[in-house]
Symmetry: C2
């Protein structure tokens, strides 16, 4: 039998993974890797950190080079080479060497498309100014780094993951940074309350935030000015557009492969396109949402790598290849000292889709509070009312945010319920956790909600017929009052004795810094006959993300 000929188009995450895995499975296959750019398998996610100088070795970003892929994996690697056409009937793909212009047809038995995605660069007036950049490749990175040298005022358009990372790195370089976001919050994938700490952290580091305003165009000349939809202008010497990505699927489209509603390549659970000899993987494909089965796209490195690996498995061992389970969209970003991220569905997404859900938010420390260095962490949990199954979670804090997201991503993969979260047996020693981890607490709070022990609300009531009961100690209330008139303050320790100060005819919302004492107070009142709700996640989740739980000890 002739050796199997595999051509892989795209040599970064999905493509390089597919090629490497194919070699592990077959020493005899002829594996060709074609990459349009000069680099293969580079650390896409590291680009902002090199611009800002956190990563100092450019070579560190080249996880593999064409040379190492050849020597270690015996791959036939063609960087700076573009795939320009697919002849599906003839089982061949035409490639063009970008330096020489030479075109060649490469025969294949199996073709793997991993073209990735490209940054969105909307056709706005003035967008072609050479001081306006996007960030996707090592050359993009080099250009921004070079331009940053002489620029002082920098604008970043888009406050998603890349935009936030770039804003931080420009601050690190001493720039004056304006961050513009069309949504009324930073980190649009998260629910707004869970973005407040990031917003605050940006402001503390001097980032000028313009939220709820989009980019309308640019005016060039000696000075570059960003014109926003509101009419505002932002003068800048350097602009980074961080507006997300779109799949790079011109080749797949021209080849007549089926595409999804938003232009992604359609694949089955084994990453086969509408042509079974052509696979696709990575940022260009549409896969199933793990919770709903609906098509979705999650352009992130983790799924890309695993999809690429699965492609090779299916080429050589279709009988034992497990289908791709779909994506849940776990992601995280660090913004100065703060980390924030999510897994699964957000509340806004659930609401928009009309799916039933319930939610609680809990606060705690990232490890035992009695052990030095405990940092606050906040966790929002969403679950399906009937089954109790976890639908999503968001976390913000300083340390250990990634751990909780990973635990909850694993919980979603295992279809765990809120009862299961309450009983998770997590690793506890004082430097690492707590006897009741915040994930357990979220499970407790959720089951309490399900069981009717508490009725959570997520913001202070506008209705002044509602009695707002602040159960924090009076000294703390005095220093950090609620932004609302008519708040009654009875600390929890006095509530049983003083409950009669509340009007039994009017509903009560109990409030504290973290949400826990308010829940305790709600239990006290509910059992005495009050109609009572409790502010979930406390003041931190809805008013001030750094609201203290106690006054500093003098």
């Amino acid at each position: 039998m002739n050796p199997l000929r595999i051509v892989v188009v795209g040599g970064v995450a999905a493509g390089a993974s597919a090629a490497a895995r194919a070699r592990r499975l077959s020493e005899s296959a002829h594996i060709t890797l074609v990459e349009r750019g000069p680099d293969v398998s580079f650390a896409n996610c590291g680009l902002p950190y090199f611009i800002g100088g956190e990563i100092t070795q450019r070579a560190a970003l080249a996880v593999q080079t064409p040379q190492t892929l050849k020597s270690m994996l015996a791959l036939d690697v063609h960087p700076n080479t573009e795939a320009v056409a697919v002849d599906r009937a003839g089982h061949r793909v035409q490639v063009r060497a970008l330096d020489s212009g030479t075109e060649t047809w490469l025969p294949y038995d199996k073709l793997v498309l991993a073209p990735g995605a490209k940054p969105i660069r909307p056709a706005l007036p003035g967008v072609d100014d050479e001081r306006i950049f996007t960030l996707r490749s090592l050359p993009d990175m080099d250009r921004i780094k070079a331009a940053a040298g002489s620029a002082q005022r920098v604008a970043v358009i888009g406050a998603g993951y890349i935009g936030l990372e770039m804003a931080e790195q420009f601050v690190r370089l001493g720039k004056t940074v304006t961050l513009v976001e069309l949504q009324a919050q930073v980190l649009p994938p998260l629910d707004r309350p869970m973005s407040l700490l990031v917003e605050d952290e940006l402001r503390r580091h001097g980032v000028k935030l313009i939220l709820g305003d989009g980019i309308a165009g640019f005016t060039g000349g000696a000075e570059l000015t960003c014109r926003l939809q509101s009419g505002r202008t932002v003068p800048s010497e350097l602009v980074v557009l961080a507006l997300g990505v779109q799949p790079d699927t011109a080749l797949a489209r021209a080849a007549g492969l089926a595409l999804g509603a938003r232009g992604h390549i359609r694949v089955n659970a084994f990453m086969q396109t509408s042509d079974p000899d052509i696979y696709a993987a990575g940022d260009a494909v549409e896969v199933a949402d793990r919770l709903t089965g609906e098509p979705c796209a999650v352009p992130l490195g983790g799924p890309a790598n695993r999809q690429g690996r699965l492609v090779a498995d299916h080429i050589f061992h279709p009988e034992r290849t497990k289908p791709f389970p779909g994506v849940i969209g776990t992601s995280i970003v660090r913004v100065f000292d703060v980390a924030a991220g999510l897994t699964g569905w957000s509340e806004k997404r659930l609401r928009a889709a009309g799916r039933p859900y319930r939610t609680v938010t809990v606060n705690d420390n990232h490890h035992a509070g009695y052990y030095p260095g405990a940092k606050p962490i906040m966790l929002k949990l969403l679950w399906e009312p009937d089954s109790g199954r976890v639908l999503g979670a968001q976390a913000t804090g300083f340390v250990g945010v990634d751990k909780r997201l990973d635990v909850l991503a694993t919980a979603i993969a295992g279809e765990l319920t809120i009862d299961d979260l309450a009983q998770l047996e997590l690793a506890y020693a004082p430097p690492f956790g707590a006897a009741k981890d915040i994930v357990n607490l979220a499970g407790f709070a959720a089951t309490n909600t399900r069981d009717g022990l508490v009725d959570p609300v997520d913001q202070l009531p506008d209705d002044h017929a509602v009695q707002v009961l602040d159960v924090r100690p009076p000294a703390l209330v005095k220093q950090h009052p609620l932004p609302r008139d008519g708040v009654i303050n009875i600390p929890l320790a006095e509530l049983r004795a003083r409950a009669s100060e509340l009007d039994p005819q009017r509903p009560v919302v109990t409030v504290c810094a973290l949400g826990k004492t308010a829940y305790f107070a709600a239990r006290v009142l509910a059992q005495r006959g009050w109609r009572v709700q409790s502010l979930t996640g406390g003041i931190r989740a809805s008013v001030d993300p750094r609201s203290p739980a106690r006054l500093p000890t003098p």
Copy 2:
């Protein structure tokens, strides 16, 4: 209806949780908490850190005090009070105030026993010397801290969690520390290879380790000497016995409650003892192992807290209380800069029980290697051959060990398989993780093993008929040679061209620092017809836990 009378015996983790939860569920219940010691709800796990001075505020260890339990929870709290008898027929428990000696009968509708465990203090010659301590309570802690002031030579007997923590803290205090352990390894719950890094870390910090030797007795006098079973002697001014705990079940036994084989209180999945009006929770009870359903005891704070909570749920709302799911024994310890822990079953435990399993060990960095500060982490995974279900995991490293243990504990709770681990979608940004997290890598390695792509061995072969092929770069091999004669060195990049240097008639074991390159090499050779195995976890897992993966860049 008269208010329900609940008496809780034991006021630390399980007891305090039961009482607090009972109050949330019922404002009308009369809840009495009886605690033999002076403290309730104190941070047991923090004691070593106060002795060593990491925790400086003794008050921080009192999570609750009798006063806060009264003011916040309206509990009737009796510290320094011992429960001495249970009159089951009369539904009353006799308690004795330890200061006055006054005895009282307390009537109960529901009795909750949370007596905890006491440190094992074997009846060895000389064990009553006042310089020999155990650590369980705040007074124990105070005594050790006081005695440590004048002691220079300290012996810690037992290298489990408490023993390791105490050894570290004594080093912190400038003591000369000898750590004695009967097993031939530190951290006996782990498989020995996974304990090597901890062992090395202890030695680096000057701890004198005596492994495979037990304590036989003590000789008092002006100088205190520990006499070991081997005949060795260890002169010490202070000795801490850290030999584990035994359940404190005298009261339960006297009351005629059913006990388990090792003396723990038997409970059902709702924590009811053989008397349905008497519950028990915490370190004194025997619960189901989550994987096998067999009775086991895991004396740790997390399960104790959750069991206590469940008791209160079952007292007030039996109809909606979910059964306790059993324990998997997740635990972790920090030893200087190293963290190590496990979840689920270890290999030695599986082997002793005669249960089928397979295992791999993988190494990686705790976050993307290209981002500064990446630290090595090692993960051992055990799974059930037929189902692929995860049975256990162990991890060691410097950062992020707790995260991987928590993910794997969640995976066990969700009954995930090795295929599921390979597809977990964990949070990735360069400061937090990698596109392929080490948990994914463990899933990859496990499925590769299951699928016959690699045949892992866990140590260098003794048999010299086996060819040991070291595939590391020659310069690295020269500086860090394998401790074995006749090793062949062919780096992976040259293996395809030089495979003929190996004898095709003799089996090969491929070796590298981390295990990954050796796997790649094994694939190259296996497909060329060699009988080949690969050293799982590399040299780090079996020879040198700090074996470098590459030479330092000059």
